[in-house]
């Protein structure tokens, strides 16, 4: 029975991006976003944060989580436009977020914490030597394609 269900499920997952429990997102498509954000970390999908978070982040790149990530104005504005236009507002992933004062870190999003908060995940992270929650691809091998369902 399982033999048949599993391939069928996989097919279904592959065919329905962005639907499976709010843990699949369209891959980041903009080449500038991919290049600039992706220079230091995975170019996180814009749906992972609300518009307000991206706005605040893009307005103070000189202190980007303790790092200077400054860009020229034109590049900054282009990236900000893409991130805010595709932000996750209204999506399943953002349920439970305080939209008036949303987190800046994806790892502080309520659903992120729910998915990663258990002892099992913490132990997996420690065991595999993953240093930071920012390193999605360390565990979710297809995270840069928007696929986080592999848990």
């Amino acid at each position: 029975m399982l033999k048949h269900i599993l391939p069928a499920t996989l097919l279904l997952l592959a065919a329905t991006p962005a639907l499976a429990g709010g843990k699949m997102f369209p891959p980041t498509a903009d080449p500038v976003v991919k290049k600039e954000c992706g220079a230091c970390h995975m170019a996180y999908q814009p749906q992972l944060l609300p518009r307000k978070s991206w706005e605040a982040m893009m307005d103070r790149l000189s202190d980007h989580f303790g790092e200077n990530a400054s860009l020229d104005d034109k590049t900054r504005d282009a990236i900000k436009a893409y991130l805010t236009a595709n932000a996750g507002d209204g999506g399943k992933w953002l349920r439970g977020v305080n939209t008036a004062n949303p987190p800046q870190r994806i790892s502080e999003m309520p659903r992120f914490k729910k998915e990663h908060g258990e002892g099992k995940v913490q132990r997996m992270k420690e065991k595999s030597g993953v240093k930071t929650w920012a390193d999605c691809v360390a565990c979710h091998k297809q995270a840069d394609r928007g696929y986080y369902e592999d848990d």
């Binding site: 230091c40 970390h41 989580f65 790092e67 200077n68 400054s70 993953v130 930071t132 390193d135």
Partner: protein, 137 residues
């Protein structure tokens, strides 16, 4: 007009032949002109000074990144890691020959990383020494 040209020629002559790249030479020549302007006694870049600068622990920057080596590691030929866990291609020209050949990229990353590590922009001397050091590796 004549002086920068002379400095540029001197800088070119001082570079090891193996690490040669016209684009990198142009970047270094521009930095040499700047360094000479800042200090008339400037007598060329030094790989040794660059090596010390690369390995030094700095003050005034962001606490998570007190040194170039915080992200790039202590061996320029090795792959570094950003604080977010992403690999950084080696800084050594022998490993990545395209290093320090794109003026915009060079300006952008010195601006960012110097501010993060030292809390200020790097001087032309520091940048020139750094690139000169990496060209020997």
């Amino acid at each position: 007009m004549k002086k920068p040209f002379a400095v540029a020629l001197m800088t070119l002559a001082a570079l090891p032949a193996l690490a040669g790249s016209p684009a990198r030479d142009t970047i270094l020549a521009g930095l040499a002109t700047e360094a000479k302007k800042a200090d008339p006694s400037f007598a060329g870049f030094s790989a040794d000074r660059g090596a010390s600068f690369f390995g030094a622990t700095q003050k005034g920057g962001k606490p998570d990144t007190p040194s170039c080596t915080s992200c790039h590691g202590t061996t320029p030929e090795a792959t570094g890691t950003t604080r977010a866990g992403k690999p950084v291609e080696p800084l050594a020209v022998s490993k990545v020959p395209t290093r320090y050949t794109d003026p915009e990229k060079v300006a952008k990353w010195f601006q960012r990383n110097c501010t993060s590590v030292l809390g200020r922009e790097c001087t032309a001397l520091e940048k020139g020494d750094f690139i000169t050091f990496m060209a020997t590796r």
